[in-house]
């Protein structure tokens, strides 16, 4: 699952976009506006044990179970959605379930002689081995290949990360019963050295990203800041000044709070404009 398909898709490249800047931006803006303005049906909030479907043709999807009598019941407090044959319940609160390939922000909370243990807001700690955390200098440099692989000493690797350091990682492997293995090698990954990491409920993360990234784009545009939304409910932010960051944090909490409502993008936009005016933030 995961990584192969993701790689096979054309990777977005920064340079290629700059060429079609003006043409695309107009159409995009329209699309964004249209999306947020369209009236979404208000989805019903269901509760654990509630019968959400009795039609025998339907299949219990995520967050739902099928009873012996054919009724489908919810296991969460969440929003019911029927997609094709599947009845799903999207939980409104919950813990983060690690998925292979997810990008998460972890915090080093323990070290052993050979690995770092990272709190990734899941029920298990993530394991980051130095070999997955630091790029090796080129091996064999200056030696003929026949001399075999020359391994550089790595004893100081464990000192490169301190307790309490926050790292953007990707989940390499793991299962329900196994601690997830992480890597911090790769694009966008690595140690965070500036800004701030805030935490929200992981179930609200899709809303902070918004449909096709609309919310994140809105925040970046209006508040001139850098944001990285990790799947485990942590968000790295770095703004121009503390006032901007402060407003951004408040807005993110507002999105978290109102994640189940409709018309969120418009409301957030209006809120940011209003607050910027009040606080005199450019």
């Amino acid at each position: 699952m995961g990584i192969f398909e993701k790689r096979s898709k054309p990777l977005f490249l920064f340079s290629s976009v700059q060429n079609k800047k003006i043409v695309t931006c107009k159409s995009c803006k329209k699309k964004v506006k249209k999306m947020s303005a369209e009236n979404k049906p208000i989805r019903e909030i269901v509760t654990p044990g509630q019968v959400i479907a009795t039609d025998p043709g339907l299949i219990a999807g995520r967050g739902a179970i099928k009873e012996d009598n054919g009724q489908i019941t919810s296991v969460f407090v969440g929003l019911k959605e029927i997609r094709g044959k599947y009845v799903n319940v999207v939980p409104l609160n919950g813990l983060y379930n690690p998925q292979i390939g997810d990008k998460v922000i972890g915090r080093v909370i323990a070290k052993t002689p050979v690995k770092f243990l990272l709190d990734i807001n899941a029920k298990f700690l993530g394991i980051l081995k130095p070999s997955d955390a630091f790029k090796r200098p080129h091996q064999n440099r200056g030696y003929p290949k026949s001399m075999g692989t020359y391994r550089l000493p790595r004893e100081n690797d464990m000192d490169k990360l301190k307790m309490g350091d926050q790292i953007i990682c990707k989940i390499l492997s793991g299962s329900r019963t196994e601690e997830p293995a992480l890597t911090s090698l790769g694009q966008e990954l690595g140690l965070i050295t500036e800004g701030l990491v805030i935490a929200i409920s992981p179930t609200k993360i899709p809303r902070v990203i918004g449909k096709k990234g609309s919310m994140i784009a809105l925040l970046k545009n209006l508040l001139h800041c850098k944001i990285f939304v990790a799947q485990n409910g942590r968000i790295w932010i770095h703004g121009r000044n503390p006032e901007n960051e402060r407003l951004l944090i408040e807005v993110i909490y507002k999105i978290e709070r109102e994640a189940h409502t409709t018309g969120l993008t418009d409301r957030v936009k209006a809120y940011i404009l209003k607050e910027k005016k009040i606080r005199g933030i450019k």
């Binding site: 915090r107 909370i109 709190d119 926050q166 965070i192 990491v197 805030i198 935490a199 942590r234």
Partner: protein, 275 residues
């Protein structure tokens, strides 16, 4: 909500430090700005007095119960007031169930000293029979939600609960054993002590640290201030060292802030009507 973990994030620490050096706080307050305080009293029917205090998002509940016991031999004509605290595990993922640890005991003792050394309660009125029967007041502070500065919140909760207390009156019967005389009356409280805590990071001092600040600060100091504008007790926590000037300056600030807070809270409104 910041991530709560025993291991402090270096990023957060640097960020808070950077802001403090500019005279700013992570929640937008000024260095010497106190969070909002909300108080609800008298909501526990079986407690003699009760208070539910919100200091920002920090929440402390306090209940007063009494017992009749023998006085200490050095104060045979005085009642006893004991403050205890419980760090309930519901309040934070960092708190664990079990006996109160040294942090909880320290907090209880700091609040206790604040009340004791201001002479706020008329202990002599708590004596039923000298040397034999006195009221023993138990002030139990329960931490309900931990978002920093439990000391100040507990001090407010404790004094509000004591003010809210309606104690049954006692008389001695023929056998010389105390008996209910059918009345209830509030405690006689002369002074309202308040605790004001300051945090210190580097050489920046600020009042009322919130949770994320409390996680990263080097040390803090709590002053109990009475209504006569006197500092009655000080407790220094943490590893930071304080110069004499800093302590004196901070004391002055504590007195100012306590005065302001006392006027704003108007704690005497929570005194119950005698029955």
């Amino acid at each position: 909500m910041m991530d709560i973990n025993e291991v402090v994030s270096n990023l957060e620490k640097n960020y808070i430090l950077k802001l403090l050096k500019q005279g700013k706080r992570i929640d937008g307050r000024g260095l010497f700005e106190y969070r909002d305080v909300k108080i609800k009293t008298g909501f526990i029917p079986k407690a003699e007095g009760s208070a539910d205090v919100f200091l920002g998002d920090t929440r402390v509940m306090c209940g007063v119960k009494y017992d009749i016991g023998t006085p200490f031999s050095d104060n045979p004509d005085k009642g006893v007031c004991t403050v205890m605290s419980e760090y309930l595990p519901i309040a934070s993922p960092m708190f664990e169930p079990g006996r109160p640890d040294e942090v909880a005991i320290q907090l209880a003792r700091v609040v206790d000293r604040g009340i004791r050394h201001t002479n706020c309660i008329d202990y002599k009125k708590l004596c039923i029979k000298e040397g034999e029967y006195v009221y023993i007041l138990f002030v139990d502070c329960y931490m309900m939600d931990y978002f920093g500065n439990l000391t100040d919140a507990s001090a407010i909760a404790a004094i509000a609960a004591l003010l809210n207390t309606n104690l049954p009156g006692a008389k001695l019967n023929e056998e010389g054993v105390p008996e209910w005389d059918g009345t209830y009356s509030p405690l006689t409280i002369y002074e309202i002590p308040l605790s004001i805590s300051f945090g210190k990071v580097g050489n920046v001092i600020f009042v009322d640290p919130n949770l994320s600040e409390e996680m990263v600060l080097d040390g803090s100091i709590a002053f109990a201030v009475d209504e006569k504008k006197q500092v009655t007790s000080i407790q220094k926590y943490g590893n930071a060292t304080w110069s004499v000037e800093e302590i004196l300056d901070t004391s002055k600030k504590a007195i100012e802030i306590a005065d302001e807070l006392r006027a704003k809270l108007n704690l005497r409104q929570h005194v119950p009507q005698p029955k």
